[in-house]
Structure formats: structure tokens, C-alpha cells
Amino acid sequence: MNRASIAWLFLTPALLVLGVFFLLPVLAGLGLSLTDYDLYALADFRNLRFIGLANYWDLLHRPLFWAALGHTLYFVVIGVPLSMLASLGTALLLDASAARFKPLFRTALFAPVVTTVVAVAVIWRYLFNTQFGVVNFVLAHLGIPPIDWLGDPHWAMPMIILFAVWKNFGYNMIILLAGLQAIPFDLYEAARIDGASAWRQFRHITLPALAPILLMVGILTVSGYFQLFAEPYVITEGGPLQSTVSVLYLMYDQGFKWWNMGTASAVAFLLFLVMFAATALMWRFGEGQENAP
């Protein structure tokens, strides 16, 4: 057997699995979104109708879809910068020469990343309980009246944002830390000798050096945050007053709670389009910044 055929042999398991369990369903999903597959069709295939783009049309006219999209965008637009700030801040702290016990702190700050979302979401629900939660207890000591995190539509999403930031900032922190450690120390030395303040060093040495990593990490985080599902599912069940329904939650609700699979597939594809557009925009923006003088 020549080398090329062996190569194909090595590739076959992977390509087979990806083809059958990913590519095929994605294509089928596109097809599914053009039908009105629902409980009737689940009971009997003959109840299935091909309806073209009607699902997409209905969704784009449905207030709940736009609300879900709005909530998801709210989550992304506020959550990602917060998360990146937390990651950058802690990375800078860990990179500082004055920091002690670095491996210990690094591990501790990273720990939330490996925990199971469901488990910590459950913890979060109790911590933010209106009556008995620790958070409201601390706020009370600071003189702030109790906030109804789980019952007030204005505060439920901020609570979820806090959760996502807490859970994920460690991941980017590690990457940014590696990036920081790759910046040659001489640059800082030279700047210090020239009399530059810490802030100016940060702005003119650190940030430009980190820019490509920040962009890449930003795109990955945005992409991940668009896929908000587990938190609303476990903590708020989409409530209160459906203020935490994300696009994926809508997809799950339509597809696996009410079995309107045609509609749910259309939701999934619309999400894909939005994500693609957002990340492509960020990529273009980043490239533009890089090429700028």
C-alpha cells in the first residue's frame, strides 16, 4: 500500500464521523428548516409539508425571536468586554514581577473554567436568591436594598452576565498571560529609562503587542457567548417574563420542548448567520487595525 492510501486510511475514521455526525446533519438541518416538521410529523411522516422559507419569514416577524436576539446581543456586547477586562486585568496581575505564588493564583483563578456549567449555575441560583442569597446579604451591608435577581426582568440578565464572566475569564487569562510573557523585557527597560509612566508603557508597548491575541481571543469569546444556553436553562428557565430567553434557548424550546423542529432549525441557521456576520466583522476590523500605520 503506498503512502497516500495509508494516509487516507488514517483519515477515514475522522472523516467518516465528521461526515455522518456533522456534515450530514447540517445539510439535513437546512432541509429541515424548509419544512414544518412538528409533533404531527413526528407521529406520522406523511404529515410533513415543504414550506420553503416560511419558517424564516415567520421567525423574522415574531417578536419573541427579536427579543431573544436582543437578549443574546445584550449578553455578548456587555459580557465579552467585561470578560476580556477581567482576563486582561488578572493576566497583568499575574505577570507583574511583584506577584508571589504565581502558579497557585493562576490555578485558583482558572478553576471555574473546568467546572461543570450546570453545577455552578445551580450554585449561582442560590447565591443570588432574593431572600437568603449571600449576594443580597452583602449588598444589604453596603446599604443597597435587596435586588430581586431571579424575579426582576431587569436584573436577571446582569446576573447571568456576571456568571458567564466568572466562569470563563480564566481561559482568556491564560492565553493573555502567555502573550504578556512573550513581550521582551528590554522594551519595558528602554521605556523606563526614557521616563515613561506605567500607563504609557501599557498603552504603547503592551497593548500593541497583545493586539493580535486580543483580537483572536475576542472573536472566540464572542462566538462562545452567542451560544448562551445552559445558564438560562438552569438558572432562570428563560424567565422572568422571558427576559433571559436567548436564541439557543428559543431553539431548544421550539425544537425539544414543543417539537416544532422546522422552526427550531430555522432559528439555528439564523443564529449561525448572525454569528458569522459578527465574527467576520470583527475579523475585518482587526485586519484593518493591523494594516493601519
Partner: protein, 435 residues
């Protein structure tokens, strides 16, 4: 990591896997077979105590009870249907029977009734039996009946100046206003959690106008009758008689009721047992039950209840029927009531002393003769959930009565679109009729 230790780990993994697989095989090598029985909510605990006698009488049947939480029950049943993991026999809410019949998931039970000595149709409450008949075919046997009526604090009502519970809406509103005033706003009139649909539904069914029109093809929420109900319901919140809370914010309603945070509580029979258990003996005289007040007098309530159904795909349908017959025996129904507080669906079971002489059950017995079923369409669960979500937004001040009714109608019409097509093309129902 050493090469040897990798192999060692692999070996351990294989041994572990093998053990688990063998364990799975071993358990199915018992005598007889296992009957899978799903229960919803607390019924499972009570049923487990009734089963030893059944298993003794039927030694080759071993019943395995699985409890599904109430809030997830509908979802779980549908998911099990889609995934092909439904049990042999299950408890099912009677408002869901139309849905599962449309899915062709349930076995028709009429032939078995004809041959049975234990299950006699005329012994059951009429409205309860009717909810199990879809398009002329019987799909379930009522297990217990359930409805919604008023629980109230007798002592607090007396404090506000009233000796008797309200008999109509006007009286009810007046009583709640008085409670608010006399307690200087510290006590609420009633608790109607805004994320539950039972309360609005019960009130809506009191109007003798169907919630869906045209054979269940369109919503009827813009009718004058329903708008009147919606206005009354929203009015309760607007006047401050009822707090705009969800059941998440009142995670312990029994404690709240005991502390007198509200006087009226629109709820179901399981709370008879709960209040008996959770309030001390000395305070048991402080609460009672009353029929739901209607717009012009004592009103109807919703005909809830659970039925026992046999799944069409089950391989043990005869054994499943034996279990249903056993659980339908009047004496077993009475024992079941004593264990949990669920009300028997058979009139003869109500003749037992435990049920006849309990004063708190009188209101329930009366209400049971005044129950109205929900529309029997497969999409009902979806529609009623939507109704609750729109109503919650209206209560929160985001919609007026007219806007809310219009939205409910529009969304109901959308949900029922497929049903209209299926009915007009006759595929599903023609098959059902042909059976």
C-alpha cells in the same frame, strides 16, 4: 506517563465497562418481567406503598415506579415519545390526553372496559370520564380528580369582618379590599402566582364560552366573555389585592399561608394534605376550603385530574391493564386518598367515612359536580402556556386587556395552523376513525 501505566489504565477502563455491562444483563435475568410505571409528582411515593399487595397477587409482574417532577412532566413524556423510551403504563394529566392520542401513543381501552368487572364507567364523575374520551375513543381511566378552588384563612377573614367565604366575584373583590385596608397594606388578599396558568384558566372556564372556536381551530380570546375574565384578573393585581409574584419568589407558599401573608390561595386538593402536615394541630381550625366564586354565584372550576394510560408500544399491555384495574378499585382509591390526599375519581370511593366526613372536602365534593374540561386539542399545553406568558406581561403593565386578548388570539391561531391543515386533509383523523 509511562507506557505501562497507560496500558494499565486502559485495562482498568475495559474491566469497568465490562462490569457495568454485565451488571445490566444480570438484573434482567430475574423471574417474570418488569412493568415500567411512570408517576408524576408525589404520587410515586404513595403508589409504592400500594404495590406490594398487587405484586403478591401477581407474582410474575414486578412494577418499577419512576417519579417525574410535575414541572417537567409534559416535556419528559413528549421527549420519551420522540426518543422511543416511553414506559408500559403511565400517569398522565388529563389535559394532555388529546395530544398523546393525536400522536397515536395510547392504546384504546374500550374493549378492556367491556370485559372488566372492576372498572365501570358510570361510577366515575361524568366530567372526569369525558376528558378521557377523544373523538369517541376511550384512552385513559381517571385515577384521581383534581380541580382548583379557594383555600382561605378563616380567622383572618373573620378579622376583616366576614364570616363566610365569597360566593361571587364582587364579594370576593370586596373581601380582599377589606383585608388590604384592615391590615394597612401588610396582608395580601390572595396569592395567584403569575407564572402558573391554573388560576386564570379556572376563572376563564367559568364563562360558558369556549376558549377555542370552530372545533378547536382558532382562538376565542377576543370574545367579550374572556376579556371580562382578563379584566377581572388583571384588576386584582392593579388594585393591589394580589401581589405580582411568581412561584419562584414564594418558594414556600405553605409557610407564607401559615404566616398570614395572604388570606386566599387558589390551589388544588394536594394542599389539604400539605396544610394538615405543615401547620401544627392547634392551627388546623384556622383554614378551610370553599367553592370558587363565579361572576354571578358559585362558579365552575377546571376539570383537572390524572388518568392512567397504556402506551401503544408496550409489550406488556395485559399486565398494565391489571395494574390499572387494581389502582381503580374503590378501596385502593380510598387508601390512596389517605396516603396522599388525591381525590378518588370514583363516586363509590367517596362513600367511605374518611372522605364523607371531612368538612374540608365538602367544598371539593361540591366543586367536582361543577367542573368544565379544557379544549381537547393536541396543542392545548402550548396554548395555555402562551396564555399565561401573555397574561404575565399584561399583569406587569406591558399590555392592556385588549392588547393581551388580541395577542393571545393571534398566537393561538398561529399555534393551531398545522391543526387546521391536518383536519382539512383528514389524514390523521381518518386513520383514527378507521380503527
Amino acid at each position: 506517563m509511562k507506557h505501562g501505566s497507560v496500558r494499565c489504565c486502559l485495562n482498568m477502563a475495559i474491566v469497568a465497562l465490562a462490569t457495568v455491562l454485565l451488571a445490566g444483563c444480570a438484573s434482567s435475568a430475574q423471574q417474570g418481567f418488569t412493568l415500567e410505571f411512570w408517576t408524576i409528582g408525589r404520587e410515586g411515593e404513595a403508589v409504592t406503598q400500594l404495590l406490594p399487595e398487587f405484586e403478591q397477587a401477581n407474582p410474575d409482574i414486578h412494577v418499577r415506579v419512576q417519579q417525574i417532577p410535575l414541572t417537567a412532566a409534559h416535556e419528559k413524556l413528549l421527549t420519551a415519545y420522540a426518543g422511543g423510551s416511553l414506559p408500559d403504563v403511565t400517569q398522565i394529566g388529563n389535559t394532555w390526553i388529546a395530544e398523546f392520542a393525536a400522536l397515536d401513543a395510547l392504546a384504546p381501552l374500550q374493549p378492556r372496559i367491556a370485559k372488566s368487572k372492576l372498572v365501570r364507567a358510570n361510577d366515575y364523575f361524568t366530567s372526569a370520564w369525558a376528558t378521557n374520551v377523544i373523538d369517541g375513543t376511550l384512552y385513559g381511566i381517571p385515577w384521581y380528580v383534581d380541580t382548583r378552588l379557594l383555600f382561605y384563612r378563616v380567622d383572618l377573614l373573620r378579622e376583616a369582618g366576614f364570616e363566610a367565604p365569597p360566593r361571587n366575584w364582587a364579594e370576593w373583590q370586596a373581601q380582599m379590599d377589606a383585608i388590604r385596608t384592615k391590615s394597612h397594606g401588610t396582608r395580601w388578599g390572595a396569592l395567584l402566582p403569575t407564572n402558573e396558568y391554573d388560576q386564570l384558566l379556572a376563572l376563564a372556564l367559568q364563562q360558558h364560552m369556549p376558549l377555542l372556536r370552530d372545533g378547536g381551530r382558532y382562538g376565542n380570546f377576543r370574545s367579550a366573555a374572556f376579556e371580562r375574565v382578563l379584566a377581572f384578573y388583571m384588576g386584582l393585581f392593579k388594585r393591589g389585592d394580589v401581589p405580582p409574584w411568581t412561584n419562584v419568589q414564594v418558594s414556600n407558599p405553605w409557610q407564607a399561608f401559615g404566616r398570614g401573608e395572604f388570606v386566599f390561595y387558589l390551589s388544588g386538593p394536594w394542599n389539604i394534605g400539605e396544610f394538615r402536615k405543615r401547620l401544627p394541630e392547634s392551627r388546623q381550625s384556622e383554614w378551610s376550603t370553599a367553592q370558587l366564586p363565579g361572576p354571578d354565584g358559585p362558579g365552575d372550576s377546571v376539570a383537572y385530574g390524572s388518568s392512567l394510560v397504556i402506551l401503544r408500544r408496550s409489550e406488556h399491555q395485559d399486565a398494565a391493564w391489571k395494574l390499572i384495574e387494581y389502582l381503580s378499585r374503590p378501596d385502593v382509591q380510598t387508601r390512596f386518598y389517605e396516603l396522599l390526599g388525591d381525590l378518588p375519581a370514583r363516586r363509590s370511593a367517596w362513600d367511605s367515612p374518611a372522605l364523607k366526613n371531612d368538612p374540608r372536602l365538602r367544598a371539593f365534593r361540591a366543586q367536582l359536580e361543577h367542573m368544565r374540561p379544557v379544549p381537547q386539542v393536541p396543542e392545548w399545553e402550548q396554548i395555555v402556556n402562551m396564555m399565561q406568558q401573555v397574561a404575565a406581561r399584561a399583569v406587569a403593565g406591558q399590555l392592556t386587556v385588549d392588547q393581551a386578548a388580541a395577542q393571545m388570539d393571534a398566537q393561538a391561531d398561529e399555534i393551531l395552523a398545522k391543526r387546521r391543515w391536518v383536519l382539512s386533509h383528514g389524514y390523521e383523523y381518518a386513520r383514527a376513525r378507521a380503527r
